[in-house]
Amino acid sequence: MKVVAVTACISGIAHTYMAKSGIENACKAIGASCHVETQGAMGIEDRIPQDEIDAADVVIFAVDTTVTERDRFEGKKVLEVGTSECVKDAAGVVARAIELVG
């Protein structure tokens, strides 16, 4: 299972990175591969290359604000949640994302 994700919170200082950490740990726990791009106060970091987006089974947007360059993900199955949900229960969020794609 290939998961890609974008995290972006309001201030871009804390929740963006906690959500990333949560998603990464949750994917690791179930053996899913995972690439998480952050869109925080430092701008886009760990940018997901287009070929990885194309190859991904599912996309998670853990965001409290708009996703920059969202068009890269056009046509993909996306689960959109708030960053807090990933801080609270990243395993649950990842499970829901995987359910989206059967």
Binding site: T16, M18, M42
Partner: protein, 150 residues
């Protein structure tokens, strides 16, 4: 490299009964240490961010933060309160452990990155346990500083 954390920024056994009082204590200490140019100013900015989305997370922790024109240099403050504070949290717990993150408006990437590392560490149950239980301020400062630079 500027120090984001000194022993004076770690306050254990702090007496206060509300979130508002906690913000007073943090802002006042930040002002005394020259971290901000106005206690009222930084408190208002912390409250503004808090009202957009509450910063209570899990296990009695909250991470109020602000990118503020009043902040002179980036700083981390760690407060443990003697009594639980009412605070909107993800797991419904009351807050007794507060990590306040103060960043200048023109936050430099080096410092933002350090704070990002620390934020990520708050997802590590071992680190949370350590922050909750450790009594030695030097040990706390060292361990938090480690997590800033990882």
């Amino acid at each position: 490299m500027e120090n984001l954390l000194t022993n004076d920024q770690i306050m254990l056994n702090t007496v206060c009964s509300t979130k508002d009082e906690l913000f007073d204590i943090v802002s006042q200490r930040a002002f005394e240490l020259g971290i901000c140019d106005s206690a009222d100013g930084v408190k208002a900015d912390l409250l503004a961010r808090e009202s957009e989305m509450a910063t209570g997370i899990n296990c009695g922790f909250a991470i109020p933060h602000t990118k503020s024109a009043h902040v002179q240099h980036p700083a981390v403050m760690f407060v443990r309160t003697t009594a639980p504070l009412e605070w909107e949290t993800l797991d419904g717990s009351e807050v007794t452990r507060v990590i306040a993150l103060l960043v200048p408006e023109s936050g430099q990437n080096t410092h933002l990155r350090m704070i990002a590392h620390l934020a990520s560490s708050l997802m590590d149950p071992e680190f949370i346990e350590f922050l909750s239980a450790e009594e030695d301020v030097d040990a706390l400062r060292e361990k938090i500083s480690e997590r800033l630079s990882e």
